[in-house]
């Protein structure tokens, strides 16, 4: 469904992505894991068109998208849920959600918005309770739910989730991840960026490990959790020797 080939990206003179090649199949949750500054978020921003790649190609359902503007991608059904939510604090929950459907044709927008909203409330019942509240007054977890809900208003076929559990209490983070699984089960493909690899590996179908802008490993959660390198990365240890005692 998504195919990224030889993508490089810079911030000024600093190369953040070094010819990254990977793919996401339809109906999968694929996560990108890696340490701070490995290039995970940049990669998402490059895919969604927010950051221009310096080289490489990106295909979304066989269509080249790396030269498209972000809003065009939304119309194709590829949506990013940004890191740190970025909702409109002074608007109500309902208004925030409605904004999410702007990309749909006008007529459809009116007709669909309500039923679409109901679906989102079914996923996140708490949002219905808070429907008329200003978004800025929501808790962190609720804001994250709103951010995902807003993206879902555009009826995406693929979601790019950037650190959805960032700064959330473990239980809330768990809830967000469970919803991610539900979305996948309903047919939405998900590319998930997570710093907390442990939680990402709990829900994803496959994962890629990014290290200093290069992909170094790929595998199922089962394989990666059994991989000493991945385990070591969590422990923060670095063994240089071949002989470990």
């Amino acid at each position: 469904m998504l195919r990224v080939k030889n993508v490089s990206a810079y911030y000024g003179n600093i190369q953040v992505l070094r010819r990254v090649t990977f793919h996401v199949n339809k109906g999968e949750i694929v996560s990108l894991i890696g340490g701070n500054g490995a290039g995970k978020s940049t990669l998402l921003n490059v895919i969604s068109g927010l950051h221009p790649p310096s080289a490489g190609t990106i295909f979304f359902e066989r269509q080249e998208i790396h030269k498209l503007a972000p809003d065009k991608m939304v119309r194709l059904g590829l949506l990013q849920v940004p890191e740190q939510r970025q909702i409109f604090n002074s608007m109500t929950v309902t208004e925030n959600l409605e904004l999410g459907s702007y990309s749909l044709p006008k007529k459809e927008q009116k007709r669909m918005a309500k039923s679409q909203r109901q679906e989102i409330y079914a996923l996140f019942p708490i949002l219905q309770e808070r429907a008329q509240q200003r978004a800025g007054t929501l808790s962190g977890g609720e804001q994250q739910m709103l951010s995902i809900g807003r993206a879902l208003m555009a009826r995406p076929r693929m979601l790019l989730l950037d650190e959805p559990s960032l700064g959330l209490a473990p239980l809330v983070a768990q809830e967000i991840l469970e919803v991610t699984c539900k979305l996948r089960d309903n047919g939405t493909t998900v590319l998930l960026v997570e710093q907390n690899a442990q939680t990402a590996l709990e829900i994803c179908d496959r994962a890629y490990v990014l290290e200093a802008g290069r992909i170094v490993l790929e595998g199922t959660p089962h394989e990666l959790l059994a991989n000493d390198e991945v385990r070591r990365a969590f422990l923060g240890k670095d063994y240089k020797e071949k002989w470990e005692r």
Partner: protein, 429 residues
């Protein structure tokens, strides 16, 4: 209807396959660059970074790796993970006899088994089969792969190892073995024994023969199929990489399907190491795409073959390689055991430094290397009485046998009967 072990990957459209190869190639290069000093130095000498390899074709910019390179970094120099992550070690030897050791992680071992399960399924092996594995488990560790993969497929394994042909035939009848996995030479011996002992072909139930590590010529295949009434398939591996499991024939018998999702093959000119165009015969060079423990980048296998990218009637999309009947170096495979002439030279020098000239006679039987005779010239000032002659010959025979695991004939001859070219190899048809 073709039966697959992993249909999705075995029938992956070629375009998607090459995308997957590129993805995995980059991961392999990234890891090799970061974890293996040898490969990092290679990149640095060329002024390259892993990201300079943007396509499968770009890989040609990196020089080939040889068995000698592996030996130079013995034991653990080319491992890309700490020993703790390694679950299996495998030994091999470089042309001059220096040792090589390869390491596999748990995932590597699993991948390897999956490959063998695919190859077995491709020849028609299923849960109903009884597989008689008649390899020398000590000398050919690939035998264990047959066991494990057969169990993975769900078939029944009867590891008969190097029991005599008579016992093999007995078990074959008693157990009603349906698959025979062995070397072509031993299969030939079993076939002869069957005829000699007057065992009716109806009394054995074999359907499939899986043969390696030496390649089968069409004549050998024909003979085996006729005399054992089986379908005979070649299984190919690379001693230093995974053996067997790299490639194997399907029921179409039109070349060996190479598992391209795990290996990227190229064919190069053995002299210049330059890539050849499609369909030309050359040396097979393989880059591993999924090896975690011990990545190989453009490893020269020494086997001469051609690659065929046209679709196979079986539906598998992987490329097929011709059975590698020749080598680019002088490796000899005798009754399934690999021997480099250099090795013999070294061993002779160790056991009897006084020997100056010798030659190797390779006797063939049914188109297969069957026996090696080492003809040694009497050393200068040698007292050639009966006792001395036998003592020297016995000593050499024992030394060679201990080192290479193959019984060889040793004969002392007059210097004048040998060619002036030391260590000449003669094939006696």
């Amino acid at each position: 209807m073709t039966t697959y072990w992993n249909e999705k990957i075995e029938t992956l459209p070629r375009e998607e396959l090459s995308e997957l190869q590129l993805e995995r190639l980059q991961m392999t290069l990234n890891r090799a660059y970061a974890k293996v000093d040898f490969y990092r130095r290679r990149f640095e000498e060329l002024g390259l970074l892993p990201e300079d390899i943007n396509s499968l074709e770009d890989l040609r910019r990196i020089p080939c790796t040889t068995a000698a390179d592996l030996a130079d970094h013995y034991p653990y120099g080319l491992f890309s993970v700490p020993l703790k992550s390694i679950v299996r070690l495998k030994f091999s030897a470089a042309p001059k006899g220096q040792p090589i050791v390869i390491g596999y992680t748990q995932k590597d071992v699993q991948n390897w088994l999956e490959l063998m399960a695919r190859h077995m399924t491709a020849t028609g092996v299923s849960i109903k089969d009884i597989i008689q594995v008649a390899f020398n488990y000590g000398l050919f560790t690939g035998a264990f792969t047959f066991n494990q993969a057969a169990e993975l497929v769900g078939a029944t394994v009867a590891p008969t190892s190097i029991a005599s042909a008579t016992i093999q035939l007995q078990i074959m009848q008693d157990f009603r073995s349906t698959v025979l996995a062995t070397s072509p030479s031993f299969a030939m011996h079993i076939a002869e024994t069957r005829e000699r002992q007057g065992i009716e072909i109806n009394q054995i139930y074999l359907k499939i023969g899986l043969f390696g590590p030496e390649a089968m010529s069409p004549q050998v295949r024909g003979t085996l199929e006729e005399r054992l009434r089986i379908q005979a398939y070649s299984v190919y591996g690379v001693n230093e990489m995974v053996e067997p499991g790299v490639a194997a024939e399907c029921q179409e018998k039109s070349g060996l399907h190479l598992a391209e999702d795990h290996f990227y093959p190229e064919v190069v000119d053995p002299h210049s190491c330059q890539p050849l165009t499609q369909g030309q015969e050359g040396e097979l060079v393989i880059t591993t795409l999924t090896n975690e423990g011990y990545p190989f980048i453009r490893f020269r296998t020494g086997d001469l073959t051609t690659l065929d990218f046209t679709p196979c009637a079986c539906g598998r999309t992987s490329m097929r390689m011709a059975a590698p009947l020749r080598r680019s170096d002088d490796l000899l495979i005798i009754r399934g055991i690999a021997i480099y002439p250099e090795q013999v030279k070294r061993l002779l020098g160790e056991a009897a430094p006084e020997v100056e000239n010798y030659r190797l006679i390779i006797r063939k039987r049914d188109g297969l290397n069957d026996q090696m005779e080492v003809q040694v010239a009497y050393p200068a000032n040698f007292v050639s009485d009966w006792y001395q002659t036998h003592a020297l010959a016995d000593n050499l025979r024992a030394h060679l046998r201990r080192a290479i695991g193959l019984g060889v004939k040793v004969k002392l001859v007059e210097e004048s009967t040998l060619s002036s070219e030391k260590g000449q190899i003669v094939f006696d048809k």
